[in-house]
Symmetry: C2
Subunit: 774 residues, 2 copies
Amino acid sequence: MTTAAARYAGTRVPRVEDARLLTGHGTFVDDVVRPGMLHACFVRSPLARARILGVDAAEALAVDGVQAVFTAADLNPDVREQWYTLIGKDVPDTPRPPLAEGEVRFAGDPVAMVVATDRYVAEDAAELVAVDYEPLPPVVDYATAGESGELVHAGYPGNVAGEFPGAPFEEVEPVFAEAPVVVRHTIRQQACGQVPIETRGMIAEWSAPTGELTIWAATQSPHEVRLFCSRLLGLPEQRVRVVMRDTGGGFGQKVIPQREDMCVMLAARKVPGPLKWIEDRRENLQSAGMSRHAHGDVRIALGDDGAILAAALDYVEDVGAYPAPWPVGTSAAVGMFFPGPYRVPKAAWATTSVFSNTCGRTAYRGPWQFESLARELLLDAAAREMGLDPAELRRRNLLRRDELPYTNPCGIPYDGISPLKTFEQALEMLGYEAFRREQERARAEGRYLGVGTCTYVEPTSAAVGLHATEGATIRIEPSGKVNVYVSGGSSGNSIETTVVQLTADALGVDIADVNTVQGDTAVTPFGGGAAGSRSGSMTAGAVAETATVLRDRIAAIAAHRLEASPGDIELDGGRARVRGVPEAGVSLAEIASAAYFQPESLPPGVPAGLEASGRYRPEHPLIYANATHLCTCEVDVVTGAVTLLRYIVSEDCGPMINPNVVEGQIAGGVVQGIGNALCEHLAYDAEGNPVATTFMDYLLPTAAGIPDIEYGHIETPSPGPGGYKGVGEGGAIGAPPAVANAVADALAPFGAEITRLPLTPETVVALARAADGR
Amino acid sequence: MTTAAARYAGTRVPRVEDARLLTGHGTFVDDVVRPGMLHACFVRSPLARARILGVDAAEALAVDGVQAVFTAADLNPDVREQWYTLIGKDVPDTPRPPLAEGEVRFAGDPVAMVVATDRYVAEDAAELVAVDYEPLPPVVDYATAGESGELVHAGYPGNVAGEFPGAPFEEVEPVFAEAPVVVRHTIRQQACGQVPIETRGMIAEWSAPTGELTIWAATQSPHEVRLFCSRLLGLPEQRVRVVMRDTGGGFGQKVIPQREDMCVMLAARKVPGPLKWIEDRRENLQSAGMSRHAHGDVRIALGDDGAILAAALDYVEDVGAYPAPWPVGTSAAVGMFFPGPYRVPKAAWATTSVFSNTCGRTAYRGPWQFESLARELLLDAAAREMGLDPAELRRRNLLRRDELPYTNPCGIPYDGISPLKTFEQALEMLGYEAFRREQERARAEGRYLGVGTCTYVEPTSAAVGLHATEGATIRIEPSGKVNVYVSGGSSGNSIETTVVQLTADALGVDIADVNTVQGDTAVTPFGGGAAGSRSGSMTAGAVAETATVLRDRIAAIAAHRLEASPGDIELDGGRARVRGVPEAGVSLAEIASAAYFQPESLPPGVPAGLEASGRYRPEHPLIYANATHLCTCEVDVVTGAVTLLRYIVSEDCGPMINPNVVEGQIAGGVVQGIGNALCEHLAYDAEGNPVATTFMDYLLPTAAGIPDIEYGHIETPSPGPGGYKGVGEGGAIGAPPAVANAVADALAPFGAEITRLPLTPETVVALARAADGR
């Protein structure tokens, strides 16, 4: 049996999430109000590093409405097991006390939690908690942390959290020594926050009589929260229920529970009502996590013809005081993907993760993206050095289709990618040659235009550990309407729309007849959550796996009723028809009614009901997507203003389930990447004080500064279900190098090289002036 | 692969519901509070029959806080389709307008619904709604309704709602004409209410942006409510979500949505917030439904040896004004089961259902139970007439095991029953002969003791229509803990405990490791709900069906890990072991972790995950249970007080899943039956005014008047899963005749015959006096 050609997959189906979200009817965690709910507020360290000599909560406890003030002594001893399913229990990790114990390690470190009947009361009382600190010298700059003599965590000499030796440098040194052209820079990227619209938040409600804990969480992965909480408290997994309806973005920050979440979980059994904690923006920028902060000594060796001969990366990243999840593993990907989608015969790499007294490194959309930034900046620098157009240099080195499968020098086996195609498509969409002519004309007028690109290959849908499988339950209800259950949850990735589209196609029904239920661990099958650009392809697999069982059953019932062979039945428009005999059909409603109410009418061997639970298990642990970003800009060398003119993305994420969703994902990532490139900076002063804890200081890009993003799509199917690939992270990977290269190209007449972000007006002016000799 | 011997089935596992219920943490519909919730109150007719000339809501609408006053004109036109899945759409039925239209048909008929921000405001405003009635002569007594000249519903001449001609009387008349003994009485049963502790109630919350209606309901069948509501409003089935957590009893009253429920559903889209209606006790006794009200001209013909030669029943029942569900079908069962578990060569029967201007007949635990009442009273009367001990008469006529299978003269094919065994067991538990001697001694002292029995056969688990199948989804979560999903819902039948026991046994895990999720149509598989003594056996089938798939998968994985054959794996105590090698084992947690996180470690062909959805479809549409009730009493002929001395039930419901649950079901039914026999009476005066609308007037039995119930169990397996049979209704069937026979036996010295219930003190005194000639 077959379904007719997919009716919804590939089309711009309007998002099912939008009905509630656009009308203000979304349910974020702060929208959940429980009877008798209490409110938590954290007392946070004002110092980057200090010994805690004492905490006096007496005054706070005397405030009317204050129920409790918890310190490390109250909560930390209750921790039973503390590890993330995402990471596994056997990975070495630093202690992550729910509340600071003995020492505070960054300005914002939670020291105490105040619980009151009202959020305002809790905030006021938190100011009355007196913490006696003995200041200690902080390790603010990870780059010099090795020599500071102070340790963020005892037991980590030189403040090194972890290292990957990667591929040895000795093997590439001879190539660098002999190569006609060697370009080498130290590329530095600033710390950025994920800055979801919805800050973190959680409600934990303990039912003592039943021993059940219900959690409403702002999360990307309700099942990770459930497993983590179950271990943290020593509660059976099935007695913890984690519910999310809408989550206002995560971008890695909400992929796992953090320390404040643990505090709420631990305190839930000690307070007389449901406990709500909603992070405010200041806390989010101060404590929810940073990412991107890193530098690398990067080199490329090229032949006279522009062919890349070798690449080397020595990478050092800041992991802050309490990184979560443990980021050391991710750093290896920086090294392994540094060669990108280029023909690179030899490569060497090493990575070092370093602690500092700043907030912890957390996951961030494409956490390995430094590889693209470093590589693409160097390629442009090399082109300038060689007097080659950077497009021409890339053309000579980008992998061609006929070279695939190709294993890069770090052992990554690429296949099903189209880097050269996306590159050419992006250039064509721009009219690259015409732009170069325009650029020349503009320069003649004293206007500085630039074009920059970034071509990358992206590992998506890593199917390991927590992410190894994904499940779906589909119930065709007695009226023929469909409920489909996946772990998922609406965190901004349109997964509800995706699931509904795929299910409607798989069962040949109208999309309006499909409802999806997600984001409640008591309701849906186990799933890995929204991370690693996995939701689309993994869920597609889960839906396909499950729908097949139902399609076969429907075909058997329809064939029996229509006196046809099951192989001749096709499903379309909510009807099962005999192929070639369109007038012979039976509605899904009739089939469903029979399956539930007249099981005696079913053909022999066909079970009653129309419901199935299936689980997808990919054959390929990684699926490779790829893209080229292209950006043009005009730089005002007097004010330092960078105006983006056009932004083009040519993306190959395989066939698109919904182009609107794909483009939405790309757009969101691109805008984040533009912010990373031009303005965002989670900066600290020399004493370790965060200096960007409001949106007055932490500068986000706005719609006014972003051009309409133009999309080109290349579709090279992956070996996964539907040929789909992940697309959630790419936008944030490609944008920083594309923008930086465009600015560098604009500033080329000044001989400037860009080696650090962000490109704020003062930086741009300084670059132009320095090179200018002014 | 096998699981070890059942560890929980058959044992007195404490109820899992009790943790929350006994600590006051149950969540009944009135415990659900939604933000912005509005409250409904009904304006009800004070007259049994009247024309509605007008409704003036102006004064009510002027009250501060009143949001709306709905009349028939507002709500009734929105009804799209109105039929119950339980009954089917093709059964003829009277119109059932949500609000009374044109005419009110009983005192309590809802005429308008007031919606206000507060229940008190709604109640006050309801009193301000002015309804202009033109009184019409009511048809109060169904027994004379045929001659009244007035019609409750136009189009039903003689007020006959429906008739079953059954089996013709002509065929038995010759037997009656020639039989040595004929006993004939008109047996009358009064109207009773189901009287659940929780009255009816519903909250309906409409989400306009998403087109979703969420309903919290006090119901026995959330999926019936969903399907009904979906049709009523023309909403797709998957956009209606029905949630129940705890329901405080239904006993038939909550098996389907009634008119007030429809009003709430219909109004939900017209009011600006979630709409709650909680019935008060007066409304419940006035409008929620009555049952049992019937009489029958019943006859038995016997030979000189006491052998039953023929039986005949001419049955007439009161169905009130708006019966729901349509009861006419059930009345046939009264006729067909009238011969009971006795050897009856010939039988004739006919039934008539008659409208009256009283509240509608609704389902009630064992809705066909008149057959037992009539038969068992007649048998005792026959024994008295023949000078035989009623036990001896029964012994001569009860079906013996060696006569099975046996088809009764009405075509009912009994098998797997043990009437004679339960009868003998009950007598033995009492010490029947000793009691007879005690009775004689007591009579000599002027004390009147009596003993009465009732032996019946009961059709359970009728697997047709809505009830044809039952589904379960089981998810073994990554830690090896288990979630099991069935439609069910806690309405007092302990189904949560049953499901957890069965699942723990089926998977060989500790019962504490199993959690069940029920009572939410967005979450669980479709199911028929708690009705017809079906939940235990049907759910057992669903769990067994589903667990088999998982057991096979676990065995395959364990065998692979333990290098054994899947056939040699047994599951016990949360571990899979190799039979005969108890030290070789692997925990379910390890197996589950592998199934979700290391699918590559699974044996070939074994799918990832440990979750399955299955559906049970019985081979036998009916399963027969049987029992004998035995009651002894002392009657005070001066005060009319009936004191029950002992109450014994010997029940054959097959193997017991949980004796506590079985005995709890029996006890609940017995107490209801005792109430029916002795005190309850939903009475009307001659004008059709209900006179028992408080617990001061509607007399329920209390713990003080009920002896400890003694249980004997006979276990004849049924052909269903586990050999289980239904047991939910039996208690209420057997008790009224057993009690009435005991009273009759006590009053035998007065020559009194009992032919009507309830046996209130005045009735008992009258019986003794009348016979006494006083």
